[in-house]
């Protein structure tokens, strides 16, 4: 971590005062720990960061990490672990940080999660581990829970930058071969877990770089690409073969992998790569993009760096982003960094219901994204040349609670108005990419195109497993990893028995 300045230096001073206070006591009781305020994460100031593409959150200093770790009361029933999709032994790794045993801390995390530097940054901790944290419950605010994700990130960054990432041990070759289709979080987990058992693993990626959504979707300012590349490097070092520019279903049929190429098992982790559009008039005007396209141009194709990159991206002045999830936040904040004068985020419900991580919502607001809540796009208007000139929206209000108890938004008749914009980015989610299902009818899907799997993540085609967004529809990085872990265990069991 670089030297802290301004507001961040104040955070560091306060942390040092707290730490010396804590160290002065012979023993800390729960009341002492509860009295320690949650350590804020140093961040680039908003006015500065909207002019660059560097990471927004800067990570804890060693002092901050130590203080934050001391907030954990090490409760016996460990509710945080049940909130983690891969069941990381959270109290144990936090205690290791508190006791200055950072190497142990990373070792504990890595028993359950392969990508802590990624998950520490992108997991929605407030609805996972932090939601169950006793400290947060006592304070009646899950955002005041122990900052588990920040601590995870702290030790993962230490490992990468100082200790060096250890390559997991690979057992002697078994002569068995496994193909992994896709290279996102689910696939990375499967590749590592299966390779560890000594099976040969080939990973197929359609793009020119592996990493899936971590590379093409999540922006540099939220997840630096060198972190993803370091994780992929671990797979390389383990002996996983990575074949880019290869799309299963077109470059090679899936059944040929099994029947002609001698693979003993296949894992499909192709994600949910088919962008949803609103289905409203004007969506094919020039200036309307899917968030996938906009973010892929900006991230994977590096269009944020026009001095070097050949891929163009729209120089948007007035932008409306449709949606309220992480992808919508990413698109809005990317547009801001690429020089937009104003960015509206149009969302049908209220901020309460936004599926985005709270930290991203907070950062987006700080950066000047204008939230247009309880509004929805109705149509897009163009000029004679079919260039977008305005977005027509309509206002919503919250109606009576529905069966689930949630008040669903209802349109206010006659409340239409126009936002003058030259760019609209549609970020309302993805559907399943149909390529594998349409070219391999043996693999059964549901009516949304999601691949059907059993409790071991095996598909209707024997020896073929699937996990992540292609099974769940919409999942977080860590949920995809959880799926991958289960599928890998089943594959390892299958190959051990065979």
């Amino acid at each position: 971590m670089s030297e802290l300045t301004g507001a961040n230096a104040v955070l560091e001073e306060e942390a040092q005062k707290l730490l010396s206070g804590l160290s002065a006591r012979p023993q800390l009781n729960n009341r002492d720990r509860m009295a320690v305020p949650q350590q804020e994460m140093p961040a680039q100031p908003p006015t500065e960061r909207i002019r660059n593409n560097c990471e927004v959150a800067l990570g804890y200093s060693p002092t901050m990490a130590r203080v934050e770790a001391e907030r954990c009361i090490q409760c016996a029933n460990t509710p945080c672990i049940s909130g983690c999709p891969v069941a990381i032994d959270i109290p144990r790794f936090i205690r290791a940080i508190a006791e200055g045993r950072e190497r142990d801390a990373i070792g504990i995390i890595k028993q359950s999660s392969l990508l802590p530097a990624v998950c520490g940054r992108v997991c929605p901790q407030e609805v996972q581990c932090m939601q169950h944290c006793t400290v947060g419950r006592v304070k009646k605010d899950r955002m005041q829970s122990v900052a588990i994700g920040r601590l995870e990130r702290y030790v993962a960054d230490l490992e990468r930058e100082e200790f060096g990432i250890a390559t997991p041990t690979v057992k002697p070759a078994t002569g068995r071969k496994v193909a992994v289709v896709g290279s996102g979080p689910a696939s990375i987990t499967v590749a590592a877990d299966v390779r560890r058992e000594g099976h040969a693993v080939t990973m197929y990626e359609a793009f020119h770089k592996p990493g899936g959504v971590l590379m093409y979707g999540i922006p540099e300012f939220r997840l630096p690409k060198d972190i993803v590349e370091a994780e992929i490097e671990v797979l390389h070092n383990m002996g996983v073969q990575i074949r880019t520019d290869f799309v299963i279903g077109r470059s090679r049929q899936l059944r040929d992998l099994m029947h002609k190429d001698g693979y003993d098992a296949v894992f499909i982790g192709t994600g949910a790569g088919l962008p949803k559009f609103m289905g409203i008039p004007g969506e094919n005007l020039v200036g309307v993009f899917s968030a996938n396209e906009y973010l892929t141009r900006a991230n994977l194709m590096k269009a944020y760096d026009p001095a070097h990159a050949d891929t163009p991206i729209r120089r948007a002045r007035k932008v409306a982003v449709l949606g309220g999830g992480n992808v919508a936040m990413d698109a809005a904040r990317t547009a801001m960094r690429l020089g937009a004068e104003v960015v509206y985020l149009v969302y049908r419900r209220t901020e309460e219901e936004m599926p985005a991580r709270l930290e991203e919502v907070h950062h987006a607001r700080e950066e000047g994204i204008q939230f247009c809540l309880l509004q929805n796009a109705k149509r897009m208007l163009g000029d004679a040349e079919e260039r977008l000139v305005a977005l027509e929206c309509v206002r919503y209000e919250l109606g009576e609670p529905d069966a689930s108890g949630r008040r669903s938004p209802v349109e206010v008749p006659g409340s239409e108005f126009q936002l003058p914009v030259d760019t609209v980015i549609v970020a309302i989610g993805n559907e399943s990419n149909p390529l594998i299902a349409t070219t391999t009818p043996e693999i059964k899907t549901d009516r949304y195109g999601r691949i059907l799997v059993d409790e071991r993540n095996e598909t209707s085609m024997p020896g073929v497993f699937a996990g992540g967004d292609i099974v769940l529809g919409v999942a977080t990085v860590i949920e995809a990893m959880g799926e991958g872990r289960r599928a890998a265990a089943a594959i390892n069991e299958l190959l051990a028995g065979a």
Partner: protein, 278 residues
């Protein structure tokens, strides 16, 4: 340009395309249709026109050099079936992707009429290959320097009006040409297929940049196409979407030339390396 890429040469079918990139970190991804392939030698033939920075870099590659990224084959293959007489219209470098389709349509037993259109004689490509396959071949040039002077829609109209109109028309070329081929055959209700080449990033259905209006429905060229019923395509919208990045593309092209000092005509559509075999 011939490229050694055995898995694509083995898997590709007529009508499919590839996406390539000349620089892994900063290059753009561009779609190119496959003009020919030989599974035995593992080679595919790509024909492209040097109109921007990436195609210029590609044209400058020497024999034996390596294209860092080449993905394919992509898109749905052409429907190959025996229908009777098929008129195949190719404009400019659109003749190249038409070539494997003509091969397959001929092999299945259709009578083939090929109409090649080009601005002038030196821009006519694949003439010999087409002459070998076609039962009848017509070459049209804008300036009359070769074949008949005029547009491809003229002989196409004559065929439609004849005693034995075609059972199917396949047209591949510049968007405006495809649009007018569609308008030519529409009154005769002759099934007409066009192959669209829109802006794409991934080519696997993920970005949606290639979307087009087909009979009021939005379709993705990369996974639903590239071939569509010409009478349903909203060509005007497609042409406008194709121009979305024109300013930036022209600027990149101009800057490239300032550095490379290439002798081509800037901003023009034509370039001498068109159809050049590397």
């Amino acid at each position: 340009m011939r490229v050694h890429v055995p898995h694509i040469a083995a898997e590709r079918k007529p009508g499919q395309f590839v996406i390539l990139q000349v620089d892994t970190d900063f290059g753009e991804r561009i779609p190119l249709t496959i003009a020919d392939a030989d599974a035995a030698s593992g080679e595919i033939t790509l024909v492209f026109q040097s109109v921007g920075k990436t195609t210029h870099k590609l044209a400058e590659m020497e024999v034996g050099s390596h294209i860092p990224n080449l993905l394919g084959p992509l898109g749905r293959p052409t429907e190959i079936d025996k229908v009777g007489t098929v008129v195949c219209v190719g404009g400019g470098i659109g003749v190249a992707p038409l070539h494997p389709i003509v091969q397959a349509m001929k092999a299945i037993g259709n009578r083939i009429v090929v109409i090649i259109g080009a601005r002038s004689r030196d821009l006519v490509i694949f003439e010999e290959e087409m002459r070998r396959l076609a039962d009848e071949l017509i070459v049209m040039t804008d300036d009359g320097s070769y074949g008949r002077r005029g547009l491809v829609t003229e002989p196409l109209l004559e065929y439609c009006q004849s005693e034995t109109p075609p059972d199917r028309v396949i047209a591949i070329g510049p968007p405006v040409m495809m649009k007018f081929c569609a308008e030519t055959t529409r009154p005769f209700a002759i099934p007409t297929v066009v192959s669209l080449n829109t802006i794409m990033v991934d080519g696997t259905g993920m970005c949606g940049g290639c979307r087009v209006n087909i009979g009021g429905e939005t379709k993705f060229v990369c996974v639903d196409g590239p071939e569509f019923d010409a009478h349903l395509v909203d060509f005007d919208n497609m042409i406008r979407r194709l121009r979305a990045y024109k300013d930036q593309e022209d600027k990149a092209h101009a800057e490239f030339h300032e550095h490379e000092k290439c002798g081509c005509r800037l901003g023009g559509k034509s370039h001498q390396s068109e159809g050049e075999q590397v």
